[in-house]
Amino acid sequence: MASLKRSLQSDDPYAANIASKVYVRSTKSGKVQKIVREVYLRTDIPCSSKLCRQCLDAAPRDAAGRRVGFVLSERPAGTKVYPQGHYLVPDTNAFLSAMDLFEHGSAFYDVVVLQIVLEELRNRSLPLYNRLVALTKSDEKRFYVFFNEFRLETYITRDDGETVNDRNDRAVRKAAKWYGQHLAKTQPGQAPAVVMLSNDRDNLRKAKLDGIPACSLAEYVGQLKDGEALLDMIPESQDRDITREKKPGESLYPEYFSMSKTMTGVKNGLLHQGIFNVSPYNYLEGSIRVPAFPKALLILGRENINRAIDGDVVVVEVLPKDQWKVPSTQVIEEESITKDENPDAEEGDNIVSQQERKALQEEVRRTHSKSSESLAQPTARVVGVIKRNWRQYVGHIDQSSVSQTGQQGRKQDSVFVIPMDKKIPKIRLRTRQVAELLGKRILIGIDAWDRSSRHPTGHFIRSLGELETKAAETEALLLEYDVQYRPFPKTVLDCLPKEGHDWKVPASTDDPGWRDREDLRDLLICSIDPIGCQDIDDALHSRPLANGNIEVGVHIADVSHFVKPNNAMDAEASIRATSVYLVDKRIDMLPMLLGTDLCSLKPYVERYAFSVIWEMNADADIVNARFTKSVIKSREAFSYEQAQLRVDDASQQDELTKSIRTLLALSRKLKQKRLDAGALSLSSPEVKVQMESETSDPIDVKLKKLLDTMSLVEEFMLLANTSVAAKIYSAFPQTAILRRHAAPPKTNFDELANQLRVKKGLELNVESSRALADSLDACVEPSEPFFNTLIRIMATRCMMSAEYFCSGTQAYPEFRHYGLASEIYTHFTSPIRRYADLVAHRQLAAAIEYEAVDPSVRSRGRLEAVCKNINVRHRNAQLAGRASIAYYVGQALRGKATDEDGFVMKIFSNGFVVLVPRFGIEGLIRLRDLADPEPQAEYDAETNTLTTSGSREVKVELFQKVRVRVTDQKDETTGKRGVKMELL
């Protein structure tokens, strides 16, 4: 047999240019795979400098013959050291640690992003990779991706004994060197310098040995004209890497297990992986849900939490049973306990501070008391972090952590930043601008959390403005909840109809816009929305039919007519996923022109709509349902209040009012049917902030009133959503976009059920949603009408959250919407402000064969990604809305003191939480708030009672109605304003 091992013969013209790369990867199941990839090396990859003629001639073209434009400027900016101009070649760590810097508008132009750097970045952090790719696509920043691994001259192979990292660093140096030599040929003597940026000392040293211009981020920024302001954005830890050696033996926290050890542990079921959550009341207590156990595991104390931050994906180990603990009944706030720590001090021998120790002693005493033995819960400790969920955080500098010198000079100083999110530990920040930043809302990033440091270290990104100014607080909120609030870019606006506000439904019904649309302009359609609603998604009509039945129509803005799949506007909307409603601001998912005009079903004008039309009998049973694209003309846009007045006024006998009465009657029947099926009526405290119209300062807070007309609209929207869900599911069994609400695990209700039994003798039956609804109905206290609402609010918090999903990912029984007691459900009725609805519109349009199916709404992978994003965005939008209300409630209370009724929602051994329905706010009253000196207290976990003695004697029980004085107060040390409650 002839030898087959001659595949790379010397006479093969290609042979010299082919390399193989070998990757070893271990799979989730623990298998190790070896992957061999071919690499074709070439010499026609351009340097992309506009100075270079040679590369221009060889520049590649795509299949249509178009050449890619060159990116790097012919006259790049100079620095003090490189006055002739320079291009930057950053290594991976530079991007990993200071992406904000590269995105900054004042510097960092003309950057060569090496392929190897891009690859490494992608493996390390997908979000950063995406940000970098976005930079390479922006015209102004001039970032060019150079495929160094494919260029013959810059490709290198790994040497024996060389680590992958060392090899990659060498590749970066090689590419930087090549660039320098290549450009020198174009303009001998005056070519721009090619500067390698790295924060790795070794890499810098080797570069200098090799004669490659190189500097660290800090050195480089120092050479820039306005470098001072940028210096703070350079991450702390990196800075240290270069300036000082780490002293060994300073570790405060246990070391993490190695990756392979954690992976094997998880595989064997000895370790458990999950998302770490911090208790909102105690920053030293966390919990983690793992697939292996029905209930969450408890993680107590700094050492066990071991540098995990809320949201991180961690691996935990269950502690031996004798170390199991009872969940804390104490409120422990980081601000008050670690208040006086010194940010400059290199932490000594212990991670647990004196004050924390004291708080812990209390815990121990309680754990050891007689009855608690049985209450001890499985407790675990963090042994590894799989994935950090760090983002940018909004916070402010803790005034008490600022030294005198820091306030004056420009010397770099360490301060603590207290994040707005209470679940995030305070972050140590080194900055030269303490004086400027005090009293400001600032945006920071976490860089690292070493074993030797009690607190994580971070770097400054930018200032949002003065604390408590409306602009700064609103932006803070948007950043904190990751709401995309920048103006729509031009590419998006280019997708809008050219006619702008003059766009009209074509007059001629022969126009292509009218194709397959029903003309419903004769129907008496009206919309009912909150006061001042501008983006009117939905309108309704009803009319009697000859056979005695009733025709009911729900007409939804035809957004999919204007937003075509896969264009820039669609892409932007899919990222935003939802409009966000703040008290004084709305951040739209779609440009204003569409949202509040062309799509909005405004009265008196013709609009395109997507209609769901039912034939119903008098019992509100559906005889027939159909779906059609249509043209409508709304007769009136009512507010809920106006519609209610009109319905209640017996003298109004016009057709429109009569049709609303018909709808109202039907909606009551629909609601009854839902309740009979077990739909839950849940509750959360909802308030409305009244603003002064001129200054838009909040002046009062009102509870939202519930009107029949609200329920009317809600019932028909639910019905439309359910009908559409069934239709798109039958058309696309694998890819319909639906919404489900999983039944909550029964254990979620354990605590509440137990409290109700002990305190009120009431039973909470959680067998089914119907049983739960009935038992919630039975939770009444005749003397206290709010009690029922209170229980509903508490029950709501035990529920799972509803989620969007793609029908192929779940079995049919899992489609169920628990809260609505509906077998199948989707969102269809608000396409102006929710992306899910827009997708449902496209699917429905395809299902009724109005248009061809767009691939993007049929691709399961794509839809899963869409669902994942909108679920997160949806939740964030809700949280942002609530936080905005809370902020304005606080502003409305400013300078006032009011006495209000409140209800005790939760009891701790050193305080209790009170809900004040009038403002929809919850506040914590600690023992030390009751009297000075702090009274002694006896806490009974069985009966949830707190009895104080000494300086003040009160007894507080769960569910108790209390009278509190609500004031607003500014904490002088932290500079933070908050609502304060006092027990009267």
Binding site: S7, Y23, R25, I35, R37, E38, E149, N566, S856
Partner: protein, 277 residues
């Protein structure tokens, strides 16, 4: 791990450094096993296959062990006037990253066998060998995309080596598109000769043509792609087939030339016309 196929737009480079219209390195040998009637070895990038052809042979007593073969070229019975083209494929366990034992009667293998069988039957002059069988036995040593194309090319070479008269080479290659079906990018570039990663992430098709003509002998498309992009992909694929034919032809002529020099064969009439250089 390296970047994925979505990075193409950054610099018009594919995951392995090729441009949109470039084949991978292709290497082939014929007469790799002297004892066989015909044999070949072929690499398209990291996809490596071997082929052995036996026959055409008169049906003897039925040999066992050829369970999973597919045949084409008319009815498979021995009464047929045309020769039967029986194809069997063995996939080595070590050929892909996930080492797995191929099950007997694997659907995908059966389909490949029948596709190859009918493709070759279209070019081989099977009518010259009634009542006989041409057995094509293919071994997959390494898989890195475009497997069907590599198998067809290897089988063609082995048939040439076996001296079975045929109209022209049956040559194959794959074509794809730089953006996914869901991304629905009308401006996506077509791609020639997909490797494994591209096959996983992008839409693609396999096309085989008869030698230098544009006659398509095989067209297999198992992924979803917009019809508007199909034309471009097909054009690139057919063009690729022509390049493949050049390469195979060169391999055959080189081998012929070498055999003449070595005196393995006598200089015959036909061989004089060959341009060997």
């Amino acid at each position: 791990m390296p970047l994925d196929t979505s990075a193409y737009g950054l610099a018009l480079l594919r995951v392995d450094g090729r441009r949109w219209n470039e084949l991978r390195r292709m290497h082939a040998q014929i007469r790799t096993q002297a004892a066989a009637d015909g044999s070949s070895y072929l690499e398209m990038g990291h996809t490596k296959v071997m082929c052995v052809v036996t026959g055409p042979s008169e049906p003897g007593p039925r040999r066992g062990g050829l369970g999973g073969t597919a045949s084409g070229g008319g009815a498979s019975s021995a009464q047929s006037k045309d020769a039967e083209v029986a194809v069997s494929i063995v996939v080595a366990g070590f050929s892909s990253v996930d080492r797995k034992r191929p099950g007997r009667g694997d659907k995908r293998i059966l389909e490949l066998q029948s596709t190859i069988s009918s493709a070759l039957a279209a070019s081989l002059h099977t009518h010259l060998f009634p009542h006989s069988t041409i057995s094509i036995s293919l071994h997959v040593l390494s898989q890195d995309g475009s497997l069907l194309a590599a198998l067809i090319n290897a089988a063609t070479l082995a048939c040439v080596d076996a001296g079975i008269p045929m109209t022209d080479y049956v040559v194959a290659c794959t074509a794809g598109s730089t953006s996914t079906y869901a991304a629905n990018d009308e401006a996506a570039d077509p791609l020639l000769d997909l490797n494994h990663q591209e096959e996983q992430e992008l839409p693609g098709l396999t096309v085989a043509t008869l030698g230098q003509t544009d006659r398509v002998a095989v067209l297999v498309c198992e992924s979803r792609v917009q019809v508007s992009r199909l034309e471009g992909m097909l054009a690139v694929g057919v063009d690729g087939c022509k390049q493949v034919r050049e390469i195979l032809d060169r391999v055959v002529r080189d081998k012929g030339h070498r055999m003449l020099l070595e005196g393995t064969v006598e200089r015959g009439a036909g061989l004089d016309d060959m341009e060997v250089d």
